[in-house]
């Protein structure tokens, strides 16, 4: 075999591998980013505008809806590539949410903006953790969300809910749409 033919074969291998990874990622990831971006947008806007117990109820409803929507996306797309990780990742998120609730309860009372930044950074840690394990996109998203939350908390704590709703929630929706459109 000539070197040129070997190069063509290696290019085909690289392309097929890249298409496969992207198809796997696109099948669920894009929609999941859109879903949770909407949850963040409405939830943080609610935290800013409603405050107190009413925003807690709003978050419970939104998390429930987000969880159901994510499960539906997972069931519709998960059959394409069967993985041993699916349930572990879902378990990790459930454990993280439960522990965040527990930690907030232990640390209560906290000022509202401190609660917002605490929860945001903890959820961002989930992105970083899963990202280190499975996907660089999740890793970088988690790091960006962490930086965004800390920056907003330091620069404009009184408007932190708006800051995270528009930049964090909006960013997640934008990233989801980008993945759905670009990863073809």
């Amino acid at each position: 075999m000539e070197a040129d033919e070997a190069q063509i074969a290696l290019d085909q291998i690289r392309l097929a591998a890249e298409q496969t990874r992207r198809a796997v990622a696109r099948s669920g990831t894009g929609w999941i980013f859109v879903i949770w971006g909407c949850v963040w947008f409405v939830g943080y806007l609610g935290s800013q505008l409603l405050g107190g117990a009413r925003s807690g109820v709003l978050w419970l409803v939104l998390d429930l809806l987000g969880g159901i929507a994510t499960a539906i996306v997972g069931m519709r797309t998960g059959h394409r590539v069967r993985t041993a990780y699916g349930w572990r990742v879902a378990g990790l998120w459930l454990a993280l949410v439960a522990y965040i609730g527990l930690l907030v309860w232990i640390a209560w009372p906290m000022p509202p903006e401190r609660t917002v930044v605490f929860v945001t950074v903890a959820i961002s840690f989930g992105y970083v953790f899963v990202g280190l394990w499975l996907s660089p996109v999740l890793l970088w998203t988690g790091l960006a969300l962490t930086a965004l939350a800390i920056l907003g908390w330091l620069l404009m704590p009184a408007y932190l809910g708006y800051w995270i709703a528009f930049l964090g929630g909006g960013g997640l929706v934008g990233l989801g749409i980008y993945i759905l459109r670009a990863w073809k």
Binding site: M1, E2, A3, A6, Q7, A9, L10, Q12, I13, R14, A16, A17, E18, Q19, T20, R21, A23, V24, M75, H79, R80, V81, R82, T83, A84, Y85
Partner: protein
């Protein structure tokens, strides 16, 4: 130095192997996912999958998911090793050019 594997070398089978090798060892691709991804027909993909399975390069599992029959395809240990050897042989040929 590893030799080129004539079974893997066929272009469609090369793409099938590359696609499956890019998945994690615990993952398996559904038949229609692979068919759509590689732009093949059922018959074409089926024939190449059979050939690779005969060589012991693939493990195939049939399952019912949401009451629909699905065929899951993954690289076997032998297939993963053979694919690595084939890639290594291609890289050696390429290096020989320099």
């Amino acid at each position: 130095m590893a030799d080129l594997d004539p079974v893997i070398h066929q272009p469609v089978r090369l793409r099938i192997m590359a696609s499956l090798a890019s998945l994690h060892e615990t993952e398996a691709a559904e038949f229609t996912f692979l068919r759509d991804l590689l732009g093949l027909t059922d018959g074409n993909l089926g024939a190449h999958v059979r050939k690779l399975e005969e060589e012991g390069y693939l493990s195939i599992e049939k399952a019912f998911v949401q009451r629909k029959p699905r065929t899951y395809i993954a690289l076997s240990d032998k297939g993963r090793k053979a694919f690595k050897g084939h890639v290594s042989a291609l890289e050696t040929i390429l290096k020989g050019k320099d």
